[in-house]
C-alpha cells in the first residue's frame, strides 16, 4: 500500500501518516493553536524516540512565547553563503546545486524527507566530505580545509547520533571545545565574558547554560541519551562557534529538554549566534527558524520563511507524495 512520491519515491503508509502529522502541525501553527513539542502520551517525543517515564512530554507547550519569526536580530549579516554545492556517491547525486544563506542572530532550518541530503550538506560544510562542485563562503572568505581548520574558523556542529568521546569524562569532552576556542582566539559570540575564564570554569558554565546538571567527571559513554545530546551541544558551544550546526538536536529529548533547547536557541540567536538546524520536528522548526530551506533528493525545492514554506505545494508533495496529496 505505497504511493509514489516526488520523483517516483515510494511512500509507505507510516511515512504518509508522518507527513500528515507534519502538515497538521503546520496548520495548527498557522491557526495559532498551541502545539505540543513533546509527545501527547508521554511515550515518544514525536520522532519515534522513547522519552522515558515521568510527566515529561505530557505537558503541551505553547509555541507562542517562542514566536514564529524566530526572534533573531533583524540586523544580522550574512555569515554563510553556499552556492551550487554538489556531491555524488557513486551513481547517487546526494546534493545538486544547493544554495543556502545563513545570517548572524538567526536560526535557519534545513528540512526534508529522510535521504534528502541534509546531513550530507552538514558534512560538506564541516569538511568531513569534499563536494564535487560549489563554493562556500564563511565570514567573508572561502571555507576550505580540514574539519579542524573549519572548527577553528568558527564552525561548531553536533551529529544526528551524538558523537561524544565516550571514554573521556564529560569535562574532558568540553575541554576539547575550549581548547579549539583558545587555539582560534575566537570570542564567545553568545557571552564574550566566557573567553576570560579558565577552561574548566568555562566548561562548567557552558554545561550549566545548556542545562546539564549531571556529574562532569563521569565517562561520557555512561550518560543517558538525552544527556549525550546536551553535552554534545555544550561541547560545540565550548568551541566558541559563530555558526552552530545542529543535526536533529531535539531528537530523543523529552518535552522539558526540548523546551529548554528551544529557549536556549532563541537566547543564543538573540546574542548574535547563527544557528543552522536540521530537525524533523516541524512544530519546533516552524516555531524557531526565521528562514527554512527544504531539500528533497539533494535539491533545494523551497526556501523562505516558515509561512512561505508551509504553503509551498512542492514541499507538501515532497512530504505526502503526489498520490496522497491528490487523495
Amino acid at each position: 500500500m505505497t504511493g509514489a512520491g516526488p520523483l517516483g519515491r515510494r511512500i509507505t503508509p507510516a511515512g504518509r501518516q508522518r507527513g500528515r502529522d507534519v502538515m497538521a502541525a503546520w496548520h495548527r501553527l498557522t491557526d495559532g493553536d498551541t502545539v505540543a513539542v513533546g509527545p501527547a502520551d508521554g511515550t515518544t517525543n514525536g520522532n519515534g524516540h522513547d522519552s522515558g517515564p515521568g510527566p515529561v512530554g505530557r505537558r503541551p507547550m505553547s509555541l507562542a512565547p517562542w514566536s514564529v519569526d524566530g526572534g533573531g536580530r533583524e540586523d544580522g549579516r550574512e555569515l554563510l553563503s553556499v552556492e551550487n554545492l554538489s556531491i555524488h556517491f557513486g551513481g547517487v547525486q546526494a546534493l545538486r546545486d544547493v544554495r543556502l544563506r545563513v545570517r548572524t542572530g538567526e536560526v535557519t532550518g534545513v528540512i526534508g524527507p529522510n535521504g534528502a541530503g541534509k546531513s550530507t550538506l552538514f558534512n560538506c560544510l564541516s569538511g568531513l566530505l569534499q563536494p564535487d562542485a560549489g563554493t562556500v563562503t564563511f565570514d567573508g572568505a572561502p571555507l576550505r580545509g580540514a574539519p579542524s581548520v573549519r572548527a577553528r574558523r568558527g564552525l561548531g556542529r553536533t551529529f544526528q547520533t551524538p558523537r561524544l568521546f565516550r571514554s573521556l569524562s564529560v569535562l574532558d569532552n568540553l575541554l576539547f571545545g575550549c581548547e579549539t576556542a583558545d587555539w582560534s582566539g575566537h570570542r564567545y559570540v553568545f557571552d564574550p565574558r566566557l573567553g576570560r575564564l579558565p577552561q574548566i570554569e568555562r566548561a562548567e558554565r557552558i554545561a550549566a547554560l545548556v542545562g546539564f546538571r549531571g556529574d562532569l567527571s563521569v565517562p561520557a559513554g555512561s550518560l543517558p541519551f538525552g544527556d549525550l545530546r546536551t553535552v554534545e551541544l555544550a561541547r560545540a558551544l565550548c568551541g566558541a562557534p559563530s555558526l552552530l550546526m545542529l543535526d536533529e538536536p531535539a531528537s530523543g529529548l523529552d518535552a522539558d529538554q526540548a523546551q529548554s533547547f528551544v529557549g536556549l536557541m532563541r537566547e543564543l540567536g538573540d546574542m548574535g549566534l547563527a544557528v543552522l538546524l536540521i530537525e524533523h520536528d516541524m512544530a519546533l522548526v516552524m516555531g524557531l527558524c526565521k528562514r527554512i530551506t527544504v531539500l528533497d533528493f539533494g535539491q533545494v525545492i523551497a526556501e523562505g520563511t516558515p509561512e512561505d514554506v508551509q504553503r509551498n505545494e512542492t514541499v507538501v508533495h515532497a512530504y505526502l507524495g503526489r498520490s496522497a496529496a491528490r487523495a
Binding site: A146, S148, F165, S167
Partner: protein, 299 residues
C-alpha cells in the same frame, strides 16, 4: 616459606614480562582500535638489530639498545604512513599487522648471520649481577629487577600520558570518534604516527629487556606475546591496570602450578586459555557494556 617467596618472585617477574608486552598492545588498541598482532614480531626484529650491533659489531650496549628501539620506531612510523593510513578500518588494519608479523618473522629468519636456528645470548651490562633474598635460598638478577622497574615506569608513564596530557587525550579522542575529533581540532594525521611509533618502540624495548633473562629467541618471545594477548582481554583491551593485574595473576598461577602442582602436566600451559575462557564466561554472565564501562573507568 622460602619456596612460597620464590614462587611469588618468579610469578612477579614473569608477570612483568607479560605486562611489558601487553601494555604496548593495549596502547595501540585503546588509541586506534587495532589489535596489533605484529607486536612481538617487531620486538624480536628490533632485538636482533640491537643484538647484531652489540654482539657482532661490538657497539656499546646502550648505543645498540638505542638503535634497536629507533629501528622499531621507524618501522612503526613507516607502517602507519604507508599501510595503516591507506586502510579503511580497524579490521583491515588488524589484518595488516598480521602481515607485518609474518614479514618480521621472515626477516629474522632470512638474515643469514643472525642464525636464528638457535637462541642467541644477549647479555646486558647487568648480566651476572644478582641480589640475594634474605631468608630464602634464592636470588633475583639485576636484569629481572630492571624488567620489573621498567614495567612500573611504563605503566605510570602511559597512565599519565593517556589521562593527563593533551597528546593522550587526543589519542583517546581519535580512538573514540575520529570524525568528531577532527571537528574538535585534533589532527589525526599527527596523532596516529605517535601511537604506532611508541607502540613499536615499546615492543623493541620489551624484547631487549627480556632477552638477557630468557635469551633472544623467536619462538619463545612470540609465545610470550600470545600470553600477553590473552591478558589484554582481562582489561577489555583498554584498561592498563586490569591488564597488569591479569598478567600478574596469570604468571602467579603458572608459577604456583609449576612449583606446587608439578605432577599435573600441561596445567601451566593451559592457564592462558583458562583465563580467556573465564573472561568470556564473565562477559556472558554480565552485560558487556557494563564491563566495558568498568574497564574504561579503571583505565
Amino acid at each position: 616459606m622460602s619456596k612460597l617467596l620464590q614462587t611469588v618472585i618468579i610469578g612477579t617477574v614473569t608477570g612483568s614480562l607479560y605486562s611489558l608486552l601487553a601494555l604496548g598492545m593495549v596502547l595501540v588498541y585503546r588509541t586506534t582500535g587495532v589489535l596489533n598482532i605484529a607486536h612481538g614480531g617487531i620486538g624480536v626484529m628490533a632485538g636482533f638489530v640491537a643484538w647484531d650491533l652489540v654482539q657482532l659489531r661490538h657497539w656499546p650496549y646502550y648505543a645498540g639498545l638505542l638503535v634497536g628501539v629507533s629501528f622499531a620506531v621507524l618501522v612503526g612510523l613507516a607502517f602507519e604512513r604507508f599501510v595503516v593510513r591507506r586502510l579503511p578500518n580497524a579490521g583491515s588494519r588488524t589484518v595488516a599487522t598480521l602481515g607485518l608479523f609474518l614479514l618480521a618473522q621472515g626477516v629474522v629468519f632470512v638474515v643469514p648471520w643472525w642464525s636464528n636456528n638457535s637462541a642467541q645470548v644477549f647479555p646486558s651490562p647487568f648480566t651476572g649481577r644478582v641480589v640475594s633474598i634474605p631468608g630464602a635460598d634464592f636470588a633475583v638478577s639485576y636484569d629481572q629487577i630492571v624488567l620489573v622497574g621498567t614495567v612500573v615506569l611504563l605503566f605510570l608513564g602511559l597512565q599519565f600520558l593517556l589521562r593527563r596530557t593533551r597528546l593522550g587525550m587526543a589519542m583517546r579522542a581519535v580512538s573514540d570518534d575520529p570524525a568528531a575529533s577532527r571537528l574538535m581540532g585534533v589532527r589525526e594525521e599527527l596523532v596516529a604516527p605517535v601511537v604506532w611509533a611508541m607502540a613499536f618502540g615499546i615492543a623493541g624495548l620489551s624484547v631487549m629487556l627480556i632477552a638477557p633473562i630468557n635469551l633472544l629467541e623467536n619462538t619463545s618471545i612470540v609465545a610470550f606475546t600470545l600470553k600477553a594477548l590473552a591478558v589484554t582481554f582481562v582489561g577489555g583491551l583498554v584498561s592498563l591496570p586490569l591488564t597488569v593485574l591479569g598478567a600478574t595473576v596469570l604468571a602467579l598461577l603458572e608459577a604456583f602450578t609449576q612449583i606446587y602442582a608439578a605432577d599435573i602436566r600441561g596445567l601451566p600451559s593451559a592457564w592462558p586459555f583458562i583465563l580467556m575462557v573465564a573472561v568470556l564466561v564473565i562477559r556472558l554472565i554480565r552485560p558487556t557494556k557494563a564491563l566495558d564501562e568498568q574497564a574504561l573507568a579503571a583505565a
